[in-house]
């Protein structure tokens, strides 16, 4: 689907500025978490920040004070290692205090380094790859069968697509014509060992999804002008939709971008200051 063909549901430019401000705040939280006692998967968190912020600020119908609201839109972070970005986005949206982010990975807190349902707003425990799409399919199937209005969103890593269970779920979503389900692939092209296409190739990725019966399109994963309308528009009737979001691993911190070394980081004080400086300079 082309962006031009979509209704212009994105608000005025002021909204985009607000999204950029929120995204910057989330990225700063991610770096602060990376500078904490346990570090974090910083590269894949930074690549997914704009997708998460677009979803939580502009797309998902959620009630932060009532996380279990039955008519909410569901979001499942299948690439659970991006927990820092998810927690920071949830905190910025008001699900829990921003100050709690400092407890990430600490024994006296609840912010497990892989998402856990004990955290308000977290729909399902993830971190072992290849589970989230199946969970989203189950949620979407129930909503369809019971006539509920919930939309279901799930964010997958691109390396994660190497897990076979993803394709079991993809088959089921198309079979059950789950047009209330939108998957997003954070296509940052890197996994721990290197570039996906060098390690275990995924291309032609859009064709794979289409062959599985999905409505597949590509989107710039860092452009709110593309992301928000693409996410707001429900799938056309009869099939689930997937957005393959072109992203940059480590996005926002120039010296971490496109680098497999940025997959996980535990930043010392100096590295943190350098990263924060790079982030603010780019913003």
């Amino acid at each position: 689907m082309s962006v031009e063909a979509l209704p212009t549901s994105l608000g005025p430019a002021g909204d985009v500025l607000a999204l950029h401000r929120t995204a910057l705040a989330v990225r700063e939280h991610v770096l602060a978490i990376a500078a904490g006692p346990v570090g974090t998967h910083v590269g894949g968190s930074l690549s997914s920040v704009d997708i998460l912020v677009a979803l939580y600020q502009e797309v998902l119908r959620v009630r932060p004070a009532e996380p279990d609201w039955p008519d909410r839109d569901y979001f499942v972070l299948s690439k659970g290692h991006a927990s820092a970005a998810l927690y920071a986005t949830l905190a910025e949206r008001g699900f829990f205090p921003v100050a709690e982010l400092a407890s990430y990975g600490r024994a006296d807190g609840r912010l497990m380094a892989h998402p856990t349902r004990a955290v308000p707003g977290v729909e399902h425990a993830t971190g072992s790859l290849g589970h989230g799409l199946s969970f989203a399919v189950g949620l979407a199937l129930v909503a369809r069968r019971t006539g509920r209005p919930n939309r279901v969103f799930v964010l997958l890593g691109d390396g994660e697509l190497q897990e076979g269970s993803v394709w079991e779920a993809a088959m089921a979503a198309a079979h059950y014509e789950l047009d209330n389900l939108t998957a997003i692939v954070d296509r940052n092209r890197l996994q721990i060992n290197g570039f996906t296409e060098d390690r275990m190739g995924l291309e032609p990725l859009v064709d794979k999804w289409r062959a599985f019966g999905w409505q597949a399109s590509e989107v710039d994963g860092h452009d709110f002008g593309e992301l928000v309308p693409a996410l707001r528009t429900p799938p056309a009737a009869g099939a689930p939709a997937v957005l393959v979001a072109d992203t940059v691993k480590g996005r926002g911190v120039r010296h971490l971008e496109h680098r497999k070394q940025g997959h996980f980081a535990k930043l010392g004080a100096q590295a943190y200051e350098r990263a924060l400086g790079a982030l603010r300079q780019a913003a």
Binding site: H124, G138, L141, E168, M171
Partner: protein, 321 residues
């Protein structure tokens, strides 16, 4: 033919009737299938809106079931024990047990019930694996009637449940009209006796235990027989009582000697009331030859004769000590 036309003769058939009865009364009860054959003719034909076929994809089956349960519905996820306890184990661990979602995993073909199909479809490890899953209740009924009572008893338990079933026709354990209520976590005394205790779980092991008790009675030994239908949570008081009042315990299971019913009983007694324990279970080997369920169990060391020999060994321990 209506599902309930003929009385079911296997725990699998009894379960399917019980599930349909439950689902007729409560639309929150869903049946998630994985191409098992039969549920589509029975459950789906009558209640299609409460039925989902995941196809031959057990990993997806389990995670979808978790999601269905998270919305407040009560899904029964159907597969074979071999696939529940191995192929889809991570999905059970992370998606069902970790969040303690009320999924009822119902697994047929447990132990050697798949018989001639051999080790690909045997599940001699499911109890060992699944009883280490936090939050999971692990159950195995002994006959058709107990299967129905079990399903009714667990339908509304708050957490996840694993139900271990077989496949073939099985004889009744309880006399008609004398069936006890099914209480999760409470062993059923099938025979009273103070010489030795036989603890069994599942249709054939319980049958072997009862036959062994008869054989022992003929020799003048009164064997207590416990049907330990709940592997987790374990009925420790019943085991401690058996250890205190009888010479020792024999465990009988359609499962590996390692880590199953015998392992659970030995662990509990080692801590709470050390006593002689002899385990009758599947030797630590894959089944090498085809054959019937009972033939394969006998070849692997599980039979009435093996239970009698183990009980006599326990009784000898008492005499010599």
């Amino acid at each position: 033919m209506p599902a309930t036309a003929a009385p079911p003769d296997s725990d699998r058939a009894a379960y399917r009737c019980a599930l349909l009865d439950l689902a007729r009364r409560d639309s929150r009860i869903w049946c998630l299938d994985s191409d098992l054959g039969g549920l589509e003719r029975q459950f789906e034909a009558e209640l299609p809106r409460q039925y989902v076929d995941a196809g031959i994809a057990e990993a997806n089956l389990m995670t979808m079931a978790a999601a269905v349960a998270s919305t407040g519905l009560l899904p029964f996820a159907n597969t074979m024990a071999a696939f529940a306890s191995a192929r889809a184990l991570e999905q059970i661990k992370i998606d069902i047990a970790y969040p303690a979602l009320p999924v009822r995993i119902v697994a047929t073909h447990s132990g050697f019930a798949a018989a001639h199909l051999g080790p690909t479809h045997h599940a001699q490890q499911d109890l060992a694996v699944l009883r280490t899953m936090p939050n999971l209740t692990v159950l195995t009924p002994a006959d058709v009637g107990e299967t129905v009572r079990l399903i009714d008893a667990v339908a509304y338990l708050p957490g996840p449940v694993y139900v271990r079933l077989g496949r073939s026709p099985i004889p009744p354990v309880y006399p008609a009209g004398a069936e006890p209520a099914f209480v999760v976590g409470q062993a059923v005394e099938l025979r009273a006796g103070d010489d030795v205790t036989i603890v069994a779980a599942g249709p054939l092991p319980v049958r072997f235990a009862l036959d062994a008790a008869d054989a022992l009675a003929a020799r003048g030994h009164a064997a207590r027989v416990l049907n330990l239908h709940t592997i987790k949570p374990l009925d420790v008081p019943a085991l401690v009582d058996a250890a205190e009042r009888t010479a020792g315990l024999v465990t009988v299971e359609d499962h590996s000697l390692l880590g199953g019913l015998g392992g659970a009983v030995a662990e509990a007694l080692a801590e709470h009331r050390p006593a002689p324990v002899r385990r009758v279970g599947i030797a630590d080997a894959f089944c090498p030859r085809p054959g019937s369920h009972a033939e394969q169990l006998a070849a692997a060391g599980v039979s009435t004769d093996a239970v009698v020999a183990a009980a006599l060994a326990v009784l000898t321990t008492r005499v010599s000590s």
